[in-house]
Subunit: 373 residues, 2 copies
């Protein structure tokens, strides 16, 4: 006996033959009510059934090549747990594409569409596989405070919280506490949790609240250790997801993810695309897309690292490539032209940090936003 | 060749024989430097080494029954990554017990003590095992907003956030969105994340920010389904933790966790302890402790459920035991006398919710904090 619990996605009535399509956890299941096969009482019960009503049905599972997923249910009992209003706020047949406002305004209903269900399930699995791989590699998951009393860098883009009469902030990133955990003797930690950015921008690259996975590794030799680990982590998650889902095509190189480094990146952009970025300056959105195209064609990869940004555009705690180098051990990972992570190597030498910190404070005090030593 | 990375926990110098004790991820590892066995250069290198310095040592692992964990390392190379100040802000030998203020003020250092390391590792594992069991049981992990525009029940105990010029709140619990996810066609979801309570109380039962695991199950028959699942989840986690850690003694009954129900609970308290609680009122802290003692003695269990609280002290969305019943399908789980979870069955019948909600609004508007119908 099979038990099906879900919403009525569709009702097809042919008089003596009725089909109910039940949506259970994003899957469609066909229930067949044929007169003289099922109890008359059941046919009576579903007479006025409305779409999106909540039901619990038990019955016999039989093969049926035409039904969704190749089987159907001959019901023995039907319980109508909650009967839906016949007028629905949004089309759930998948035939009419609603606009984004309607989809979001009716989220508790629109979410029932299998395509949205899948997004949530993939996120859930992705988070689990990330944790699985990190745990296999001796990382400890930590949970650090979200309300901080000190603003992070770029203090203007934080949300203010009133904390028992004092001013406090929602974290932009759990970076400081992650570093303190390494100081505290955990050589490898990660945190999965919310971060906030009070950026008044409505683009796909800005989110007021987002979840991030923040990884901190002690005892690295240089930033390439981090890149190597990150690549392995991503490959692991993609592999695990591929076992379960039909995922969209991703170009994964057979060798390592390509690494583009400054200052060569400036040359590539100018040579290949005629794009000029001032020496020592950051990439803009257009440059990122150009590099993505370049890497896709040359290396057949949707992933690539950008390494060795100019030190002047990076925070004071980043390590320079060498003493007095213009370049920093600062790395972004891009996927299909979008930055999906930042990393690198931090300065761990006490004297160097104090020295850089001093200059930072100095330039901050004089209104200079960038750290120039 | 073994590689050890960590902090110097102790240095024992006997002239031609030196022991370094390295603390690596909460474990103590002994390094032996004996003149004429190791390079003179290594002995020279560690001459001025200070406790809590950060080192990376590679060497040969040899059995040694007297050493911590039964082995020691004969070093081939020693790298002093960071030399510590000889004056430490807190004793890390474990011989002197520091007071809580000192422990917290020096957290990045005090955290290195194996006893604190263990707490964090147990938390990390607990979260993972919870997820593991929930996933095995078809739960989807969701991540819902922390900043809400509507205050939850008891609106005075929220933290205010300024959200682009509008007033908003940090969630007290992800309850509403969890329920919406069930509406959205996920029959089983959970969330692990932060919650906030702006309660100005300094007790071990109050925390401004805490992590919770919020589980929502659709299609239950009654609150006993929830209790049964919760018990299985907890037993799973304890079993998994026991495989890895020596955990403190927990009384686990061989049968199911005991369930105490109202109004019998009032009788037990009066009969066994002479404690009188007004009929229909909540348990106080003393009563919880008394019940814990009663259950421990009678059922040999540190866990027990308290079920069927009076409806009048519970939120409007809780389901009554039967129509017009005085009691609600509302359940707490207590562990060693402390409430560790709340649960039960929610009212899912539209008309009943609207009816109750109407009364709630009415009584709120007239300044009555409790919902009395």
């Amino acid at each position: 006996m099979e038990i099906i619990k879900g919403h009525i996605a569709d009702i097809r009535d042919f008089g003596k033959l009725k089909f109910l399509i039940v949506r259970q956890d994003g899957n469609l299941i066909q229930i067949v009510l044929k007169k003289e096969v099922v109890d008359d009482e059941l046919l009576e019960k579903v007479k006025d059934l409305t779409k999106e009503s909540v039901v619990e049905i038990s019955g016999e599972k039989v093969e049926s090549p035409k039904a969704p997923n190749g089987f159907e249910i001959i019901p023995k009992s039907i319980e109508i747990i909650s009967k839906s209003d016949p007028i629905l706020p949004i089309d759930l047949s998948g035939k009419i594409e609603s606009n984004l406002d309607t989809i979001l305004d009716t989220r508790p209903v629109s979410l029932r569409l299998p395509k949205y269900q899948k997004i949530f399930r993939v996120v859930s699995d992705t988070v689990y596989y990330l944790q699985e791989y990190l745990r296999k590699n001796n990382f400890t998951q930590i949970f650090t405070p979200c309300i901080l009393t000190l603003g992070a860098e770029g203090g203007s883009e934080v949300f203010n919280v009133f904390y028992y009469g004092k001013e406090a902030y929602l974290r932009q990133d759990p970076q400081l506490h992650r570093q303190l955990a390494i100081q505290g003797g955990f050589s490898r930690v990660f945190e999965i949790g919310p971060n906030w950015r009070a950026e008044e921008s409505h683009t796909t690259r800005h989110m007021s609240e987002y979840r991030g996975i923040a990884v901190e590794m002690g005892f690295i030799k240089n930033e390439y250790d981090v890149m190597e680990f990150e690549e392995k982590l991503i490959r692991y998650v993609i592999e695990k997801l591929s076992e379960k889902y039909e995922i969209p095509e991703i170009l994964l190189p057979s060798g390592k993810f390509p690494v583009l480094e400054f200052p060569e990146i400036y040359e590539i952009l100018e040579r290949e695309f005629g794009k000029v970025i001032e020496f020592g300056e950051d990439l803009d959105r257009e440059a990122e897309k150009m590099l993505a195209q370049y890497v896709r064609e040359k290396y057949k990869s949707d992933f690539f690292f950008v390494n060795r940004f100019a030190f002047q555009i990076k925070p004071f705690y980043v390590m320079r490539c060498d003493e007095d180098s213009f370049w920093a051990r600062s790395t972004d990972l891009l996927f299909k032209g979008l930055e999906i992570s930042s990393g690198g190597q931090r300065e761990h030498r006490y004297e160097k940090i104090i020295e850089k910190f001093g200059w930072t404070v100095y330039f901050r005090a004089y209104g200079c936003r960038q750290i120039i030593i």
